[in-house]
């Protein structure tokens, strides 16, 4: 079991106001504000907000998966997004792969997750959407997380980040002990876990081309098997 995470002050991205203004507009703002514009800009740039989710039922009921990782857990970067496909098993296995894929064939996916800390300092998903489709079995899973709670059972979705074993990038594991996903629309639920690694650009190569995806994804389910950590054969995973 991974040791409990220490209480940390988490830094979230500041909301950046879009500026699509003309030079004249910018100068007019400067006329009104002068050096205060610079000060305000620097203040915004340096601003770090701490986000904590409200107290939620602990995800103790999710004990579907033992944590893969025994140390070095972090909670940054705070945002991951990705979409594409994997075709497990790959001819070459990313670092951290077990070498055993029990879910094979075309798997497509899309996700977007934001991380933060709960009141106890645990790294959790504060907002997220995950969709994974296993085409050979025609099975799809969907996870929706809002305000730090899984929309299916209201529980927290634990997460952590870590440096990829290859040293090329960073990975996130979502649903560390499991997270409940909706299966095939409303046809049932299942415990799942997602691991995604951003190891560079472009994130993928065509099926059949060996090695250096370099991005990788692992989708684990309680009843439908696991893809193992597998290089992307299309799309991209991005840590922000």
């Amino acid at each position: 079991m991974a040791p409990p995470l220490p209480l940390r002050i988490r830094v979230t991205e500041s909301t950046v106001q879009e500026e699509d203004e003309s030079l004249m507009t910018a100068m007019q703002k400067g006329l009104l504000a002068g050096w205060s514009l610079v000060a305000a800009g620097l203040l915004v740039t340096a601003c770090e907000n701490q986000t904590e989710t409200p107290n939620r039922p602990a995800a103790t009921q999710h004990a579907a998966f033992p944590p893969h990782w025994g140390g070095g857990e972090e909670c940054t970067p705070l945002k991951f997004t990705g979409g594409g496909r994997i075709d497990p098993p790959n001819p070459d296995f990313p670092d951290g792969a077990s070498g055993v894929s029990t879910m094979t064939g075309k798997v497509t996916f899309g996700f977007n997750v934001f991380l933060g800390t709960d009141a106890n300092g645990n790294c959790v998903v504060t907002k997220g959407e995950i969709e994974v489709v296993d085409h050979p079995s025609q099975t799809s899973w969907h996870v929706s997380i809002h305000d730090g709670a899984n929309s299916l059972d209201g529980s927290e979705v634990m997460a952590f980040t870590y440096d990829d074993d290859s040293g090329r990038g960073v990975c996130v594991q979502v649903g560390t002990n499991g997270m409940l996903a909706r299966v095939n629309g409303n046809q049932g639920t299942e415990e799942t876990r997602l691991t995604a690694c951003d190891n560079g650009e472009p994130g993928s190569q065509q099926p059949g081309i060996s090695s250096s995806g370099p991005d990788a994804l692992n989708w684990e389910t309680l009843n439908h098997g696991s893809t193992d950590l597998t290089y992307l054969t299309g799309g991209n995973i991005q840590a922000h």
Binding site: T15, G34, T108, N236
Partner: protein, 224 residues
């Protein structure tokens, strides 16, 4: 009017403004944009029609937000025009301070177009775009056909790739463009790509447009 107001301001304020602007320029934030959509099939023909569906569209994003949209359908039949199964469309994207990304994927299962003139066991359309300080690029990597047969000719066995913008004549019908790719952007500050895996252009006897059918379409774009 803006220029007149500008001219009326005192010189001390002007100097302050110029200094402030110069100091602020290195930290100037460029607005980023990101977009994505994917759909399984679309048809507009004299024999039948269906809107782009199931279609997933990335919600509008601002600041440094991110999101994902996904939709699915068990199957679709449009007379003798089109039938397909297990349609899934997913699009995701995010705005970042250093990078912006969008990815879209549309997939279908067993597909038949125009009463079997074109068949495939699966279709996967993939488009991914990302922008960093080094530039903006898009890719169709991962776009494949499963066991594709066009007018009796097998073009893919298993999960196979067909060269982008492969055009094949369909006598008496029109033509089909396989792995149709439509790029946009300047490759520096913006980039976009639409991938239509099967795009049938129906033509009347005089060669004029008479309709179209699309199966597997994915679009992604990033820019500023």
């Amino acid at each position: 009017m803006q220029l007149n107001n500008f001219q009326r301001l005192p010189s001390q304020v002007l100097l302050s403004a110029v200094l402030g602007l110069v100091a602020a320029l290195p930290g100037r934030i460029v607005a980023q944009t990101v977009a994505g959509q994917a759909y399984g099939a679309y048809a507009s023909t004299p024999l039948g029609a269906v809107t782009q569906s199931p279609i997933a569209v990335l919600p509008p994003l601002a600041g440094t937000d991110g999101d994902m949209a996904a939709v699915q359908s068990g199957g679709m039949t449009v007379g003798g025009v089109l039938s397909t199964t297990f349609l899934h469309s997913i699009t995701s994207g995010a705005l970042g301070t250093a990078e912006t990304t969008a990815q879209s994927v549309a997939t279908t299962g067993t597909t038949s177009i125009l009463n079997g003139l074109i068949t495939a066991q699966s279709v996967t359309a993939m488009a991914a775009s990302h922008r960093t300080a080094s530039g903006a690029v898009s890719s169709s990597t991962g776009s494949t056909f499963g066991d594709l047969v066009v007018a009796g000719s097998r073009l893919a066995t298993g999960e196979g790739v067909v060269a982008p913008n492969t055009r094949i004549a369909l006598p008496g019908v029109g033509y089909v463009v396989l792995n149709e790719q439509i790029a946009s952007g300047d490759g520096v500050t913006s980039s976009g790509l639409t991938v239509n895996m099967i795009h049938v252009y129906l033509q009347n006897p005089l060669g004029g447009a008479a309709g179209e059918i699309v199966v597997g379409s994915a679009t992604s774009s990033v820019g500023s």
